[in-house]
Amino acid sequence: MERTAVRGRLSWQVAPVVSVTWETASVATIQLDPPDWAGHRAGQHLDVRLTAEDGYMAERSYSIASAPGELLAITVERLEDGEVSPYLAGELQAGDELELRGPIGGYFVWEPSDGGPLMLLAGGSGVVPLRSMLRHRVNTGSDVPARLLYSSRGWEDVIYRDELGQHHDGARVSYTLTRSQPPGWTGHSGRINSSLLAEVAWPAKTNPLAYICGPTSFVESAAAGLVELGYPPERVKTERFGATGGR
């Protein structure tokens, strides 16, 4: 019998875990192979549901880390007091199964046809949906110019460090480290502020399209900074995941 879902509804499904790869000491990328996945757009989410033996259920929304057309992946930061993330980034292993549904979201998404230049601003694990956009840009051969400014506590906390260190077909990646800098650090230091944005971000006259994802305080100051530079608020898309450095 053909599988049918009620139009517009999201169905839960069980996806095998293909691999778990550690990006940092507390952040893992989980590749998943759901049986019924219609594909996603760069920047979208999926919902994960864990069910305890007593029937208690906890749901969380995670940004999709992979680009459209790639094997589905999420990147999860382990929060020690979290209800879901210590299981996902700590206990889950290849061969396990995970209940999920998606894709979800129509606001914080980017298609090459949306154009740019793209100004991506990431705070901590807020880099995850932006990584999907960068990969999508490369995979589609898009010539939209792109810059990523990535704010992280320390160099050891930078997610996708090797991948972002490679040339992203013309995408420029800048870092600012807020708590600690390695010896000989030549990147930026401290929190994102107006002078850093003025130095790193596309000038407003190029009509850039901005995506900002991170903790609430990071997103608020980054968005205000871009608007101060002259970015139209409607071309500054934001996604906030609370006060901590992850989800």
């Binding site: 517009g8 509804r9 999201l10 989410h45 919902d47 749901e59 929304s61 549904r101 998606g102 979800i104 979201g105 129509g106 606001y107 914080f108 609430t216 898309k237 934001t238 996604e239 906030r240 995941f241 609370g242 006060a243 901590t244």
Partner: protein, 86 residues
């Protein structure tokens, strides 16, 4: 739990409205501020999800999930439009 924003409840909104709503434009019934649902302030404290205006802080929506239904209180919402969106 610290507040997130409307991007993080896209699935719950599909449960409640039957379609993607994070890009829909909301108007706060209290102050009249208009913004995408994705930009609203979201508190996920049991037993429900409380959505507040980022301008005036008043409650715009309350969604409470039950075993096989969702209770939705939209009394803080003046309008919600996904017209023109895919």
């Amino acid at each position: 739990m610290d507040p997130i924003d409307g991007n993080g409840i896209g699935g719950l909104l599909i449960d409640a409205f039957g379609k993607e709503m994070t890009a829909a434009i909301s108007t706060c019934a209290t102050c009249g501020a208009r913004r995408p649902v994705a930009e609203l302030v979201v508190y996920q404290r049991a037993p429900g999800t409380v959505v507040r205006c980022r301008t005036c802080g008043n409650v715009i929506m309350v969604l409470v999930k039950r075993a096989d239904s969702i209770d939705v209180d939209l009394s803080g919402l003046a309008s919600l439009s996904n017209q023109g969106l895919p």
